[in-house]
């Protein structure tokens, strides 16, 4: 990208104007790259010609680290640090894979609590996603309204497992603690309060005309492209693909509950635009609330540590477990040898996969749209770089 790119533009009079492209470096220290992502952007005026993401500023050898643990249990704190805004989901995914490997059946109560936690975490993560997306659009206030409510979720987590962000709560075969006595009541309270904020921010941000004009018809990700790039989560559903692992590959007891898969319909523009992706997240929070309310109402009794193995030493083999995280399909592939240490762990990080599509969908957009597209992909660099 060092040589200058001359660009010919045909004007209506039939003459060609020659303009030169400009390469700007967006990040790793840039307010809207959501971490230390570096984008090399080739611009023609304000129009994006090419985007090249450069990764690795946050790489910390997570997968290699796991091979040097003294037990499978120790992987979980590391897994937490992948997608640090949705640590519960990461644990869940890893545990699903590990339990498949170890062939452990967990009590029903554990499943219920895991579902409640995963959905609370999904809400917390979407709150950040939409909030920071709002900041990218220049609206700062909704972000803080959402953070105010995210704080309540974090308090629930803190009450349950003692940590606010990196929980180490979901263990192989169970949970580190049972939920505290006041948890059920507090969660119900949260569900009621939170609906008000959801409505409010929906009016303030998602249906604001400026916001709609900024996001509708921008960064359109067509159905085929989304599937070809293996996008998942709200990215995929925003493009109109009705696919959700919670329904299509039910991993815990999600099939017991009644909820809908939200799909982008292109209400404000084209299917698969930035607005669709954003509204899918917004509406998914309503669905998560539905699941939580149902799970809370029918929470069974039981011992959450009954199935926790004392010593984890799997038979050699491999297993792939996946969950529908807030960002999409989060999967762990574990290869075990006859040891207490995993032979190899590979994470399929949805943020990384989703990010790969950025070059494709931001060509021809404006610089400001690139920021919108970045925000709508909802990347967490901890997960992209691992």
């Amino acid at each position: 990208m060092t040589e200058t790119h001359l660009h010919a533009i045909k004007t209506s009079t039939g003459r060609t104007l020659r303009t030169e492209e400009m390469v700007v470096n967006m990040g790793p220290q840039h307010p809207s790259t959501h971490g230390v992502l570096r984008l090399e952007v080739v611009l023609d005026g304000e129009i994006v010609v090419d985007v090249i993401p450069h990764l690795g500023y946050l790489h910390r050898c997570f997968e290699k680290h796991c091979e040097h643990m003294t037990s499978y249990q120790q992987v979980i704190p590391y897994v937490d640090r992948m997608d640090y805004v949705a640590a519960m989901t990461n644990e869940h995914a890893f545990v699903v894979a590990a339990e498949k490997l170890l062939k452990i059946e967990v009590p029903e109560r554990v499943h219920y609590i895991r579902i409640i936690m995963a959905e609370l975490q999904r809400i917390a993560s979407h709150l950040i996603a939409i909030g920071t997306f709002g900041i990218d659009m220049g609206a700062f206030t909704p972000f803080l309204y959402y953070f105010r409510d995210r704080e309540k979720i974090l308090e629930l987590f803190e009450m349950t497992c003692g940590a606010r962000l990196l929980y180490n709560y979901i263990w192989i075969g169970g949970l580190s603690h049972d939920i505290p006595p006041q948890f059920v009541e507090r969660t119900k309270e949260f569900c009621t309060d939170f609906k008000k904020t959801l409505k409010e921010v929906n009016d303030l941000l998602n249906y604001n005309e400026i916001f709609i004009k900024r996001t509708a018809n921008v960064g359109i990700l067509p159905k085929d492209l989304a599937i070809n790039y293996a996008c998942s989560g709200p990215m995929l559903r925003g493009s109109g693909v009705d696919f959700d692992l919670r329904r299509d590959d039910p991993y815990t007891l999600y099939n017991k509950f009644e909820w809908d898969v939200i799909v982008g319909k292109g209400e404000m523009g084209t299917v698969g635009d930035v607005w669709d992706r954003n509204i899918v997240r917004q509406r998914e929070m309503w669905e998560s609330l539905r699941i939580i309310e149902q799970a809370i109402a029918t929470l069974p009794e039981g011992d959450v540590q009954k199935a926790v193995p004392k010593r984890i030493r799997p038979v050699p083999g491999d297993a792939y477990g996946r969950v529908e995280g807030p960002r999409g399909e989060l999967g762990f592939y574990i290869v075990a040898e006859d040891s207490v240490t995993p032979y190899r762990i590979k994470a399929r990080a949805p943020a990384f996969v989703n990010l790969s599509v950025i070059n494709e969908i931001s060509k021809g957009a404006m610089l400001a749209d690139l920021v919108a597209i970045m925000g709508s992909i909802d990347i967490v660099l901890g997960e992209v770089d691992r």
Partner: protein, 176 residues
């Protein structure tokens, strides 16, 4: 020397000094920016001549419009930063004759004009000229005024026409 004279020489100095920077500077950006001071100085002199409307119009049009346009042009053109513009002498003979002719013309105007000289600068009562200019524009000088506006309109339409892009893919489809 009273205060008005000091102010006059101040503006005159600014005008001449910055105009020489425009001419002699090897850095095109410096040349463009010093135009700002030239225009400013000229506007100041207009004020001293009791031509307040002209002074403000000078600022508005030359600084707010033309200079900004010029800067845009310079900044958007590539490699202006690195390349020194040439301000050496060439075609000395032709240029000298043209300059001599021009100087003669200006000198002739200067000497033959019947200058109105007040005893002291600032003696005339301050009064606005906008009313007279406005009246003159739509009575005696209505034809040139209208011709100028038509020409400007044509220029605007032409510029919009030329700047319209075709061929580059835009993500924003026209509304259905």
């Amino acid at each position: 020397m009273n205060m008005y004279e000091i102010i006059f020489y101040f503006f005159a100095f600014i005008t001449v000094a910055s105009a020489s920077v425009v001419v002699f500077s090897r850095n095109i950006i410096y040349a463009a920016f010093s135009l700002l001071f030239t225009f400013f100085g000229v506007a100041g002199i207009y004020v001293l001549l009791n031509a307040d409307f002209l002074a403000i119009t000078q600022l508005l049009i030359y600084v707010g419009g033309i200079l900004v346009l010029l800067l845009f042009g310079v900044m958007l053109t590539t490699n202006t930063v690195n390349i020194d513009i040439k301000s050496g002498s060439m075609n000395v003979l032709a240029a000298a004759s043209v300059v001599a002719a021009l100087a003669g013309l200006l000198g002739g105007v200067f000497w033959t004009s019947d200058w109105f000289v007040s005893k002291q600068m600032g003696e005339l009562p301050a009064q606005t000229t906008s009313k007279e200019i406005g009246t003159a524009l739509i009575t005696t000088h209505v034809l040139p005024f209208e011709i100028a506006s038509v020409i400007l309109l044509v220029a605007i339409v032409g510029a919009a026409m030329m700047a319209r892009r075709e061929g580059i893919k835009s993500q924003i489809p026209s509304s259905k």
